[in-house]
Amino acid sequence: MSLATDAAGFATPPIAAAAKQNGAGNPLIVVEGVVKIYSTVAGDSVLALDNVDLTVRDGEFVCLVGPSGCGKTTLLRLLAGLDTADAGTSSLAGKTLNGPSPEVGVVFQQSNLLPWFTVLQNVMLPLRVGGSSRDAGKIAEIHKLLEIAGLKGFENKYPYELSGGMQQRAAIVRALARDPKLLLMDEPFGALDALTRERMNAELQRIWLASKKTVVLITHSIDEAIFLGDRVVVMSPRPGRIVRDLVVDVPRPRIAAETFGSSSHVALAREIRMLLE
């Protein structure tokens, strides 16, 4: 999954995307009958996830949309190994998930960069913690990722010296540092203004096409979900259930100006809106 071997894929993205949409990849994530119950401070139990099944194939870009409090973040936290389910199983590449895995990279709502580290120190953090911060190959890979993310020349800046969009791109590079199979993103662009967000969506698509990761992205924005996703999974309000799994049949690379007005986009957006009402 190195970037170098993906150069061809990057040059001819529509083919790669078509392969993805035909379901060529094997299942990477399999979530079956997952239930998650939270107990509140007052002592009540809240059913956050109710019998959720989800399969994500290798190389797929899946967007999760749903109203606030529908358990999207809970599902993502389970996949990240930050929480454990009360019932059901989830597996990554055939192995049961029960804790954080180096095969999973997480991008949080806020960039969550450590302010006392430079950009380079921040994106190197997963290697440092994994004990491979001197691996020349991995360091070269990181520098390549920084370049793709448009952060070349900013390696020695501190996070407070970057714009919000650049901080979030650094967070994406950090999540990719260990070359994980799966990238989890929890409303990564929610804190950005609309124009920056649209540009970030295009950049994320570019990074994704270049790296061919499997991505699960949570968003509040229907447009963002349709623009980025191969599939859009719609969740219901609490208790969180998956109510619809829609395929986005738009070729890649998608361009905002073309995708947003297209008839398939409009139809999908209408369908999702009706489901969320």
């Binding site: 997480v106 450590l114 302010p115 006392w116 913690v129 501190y158 996070p159």
Partner: protein
């Protein structure tokens, strides 16, 4: 051509407004320094006038110039002279700094342990509270009994007083580490020790510096108190010696020296703080 000219004008305007802002800042600074000097001169004048008008004898309150003479007589001597401020100040400072380093390190160590392990917190918190509410200066006689009239007592007293602000601040600072950052470390499968020194300790840095700032002044205080109780040298001894011969001007001189020293130590800590935690208060995300 018109475009070029407007652009030049705009650049000129920017340069002019920057220059104006700079000169405004400079005049504000000059004015505040001026106000400071004027306030100080007024204080000296009121002091002098009060001493003359109320006929205060010099063994109660000396006139400002007498304090200045006492201060100067301690400055204008050889650094090795026992009559100057240098020897006692060196003695006090070296003991205070050694005690500060010991107390601050112990505070950092136990504060970290308490923040990291609930069991340690439960076991130590009651004692920490009890000792914290006790006026620690009241322990000084005990310490003199245990450590004698030498430098040991002074170092112990300084360490004791520097210990608590560090303990409390380090504990609070580590506990205040942001949940999101801790989860990031968890998602990376970081060890407890890695999480401690990569996230928790830097998160606590602003608190720790507040503790250091308090601790250094407390260490000086502890040393002086130990010196009052019986010692051969130090600023505390210089004060008690002057007091014994009702050299009130000498006492004032020693207080000025100590005050200036305290301010300098505070400024040194602040300077280090600014360069170490340059990232604080610059927006979190």
């Amino acid at each position: 051509m018109a475009d070029v000219r407007t652009e030049t004008n705009a650049l000129d305007l920017i340069a002019m407004s920057a220059a104006a802002a700079q000169s405004r800042r400079r005049s504000v600074r000059i004015r505040s320094i001026g106000i400071g000097i004027a306030g100080f001169l007024t204080l000296l004048l009121v002091w002098k006038a009060g001493v003359i008008v109320l006929k205060v004898p010099p063994y109660i309150l000396p006139a400002p110039e007498q304090v200045f003479v006492a201060l100067w007589s301690g400055i204008a001597v050889s650094p090795a002279s026992p009559l100057g401020w240098y020897m006692p100040l060196w003695s006090t400072m070296s003991n205070a700094l050694l005690g500060f380093m010991i107390g601050a390190s112990l505070g950092l160590f136990f504060g970290s342990l308490m923040a990291e392990f609930r069991a340690v917190e439960t076991a130590l918190m009651p004692y920490a509270f009890a000792l914290q509410s006790l006026p620690k200066v009241a322990i000084a006689p005990l310490i003199v009994i245990w450590c004698g009239f030498g430098d040991g007592s002074k170092v112990a007293m300084a360490a004791l007083l520097a210990f608590f602000p560090m303990l409390v601040n380090c504990f609070a600072g580590i506990r205040a580490a942001e949940v999101e950052r801790l989860e990031l470390m968890k998602a990376l499968s970081a060890s407890r020790l890695e999480t401690y020194y990569i996230v928790k300790l830097p998160s606590a840095a602003p608190y720790i510096f507040a503790g250091l700032d308090m601790g250094i002044v407390y260490a000086l205080l502890g040393t002086i108190v130990a010196e009052f109780l019986g010692a051969q040298q130090g600023m505390g001894v210089a004060i008690t010696k002057a007091q014994a011969v009702t050299d009130v001007a000498g006492v004032f001189g020693a207080l000025v020296v100590l005050g200036v020293t305290g301010i300098l130590l505070h400024l040194v800590v602040r300077r280090i703080e600014r360069s170490v935690i340059h990232w604080a208060n610059r927006g979190k995300h």
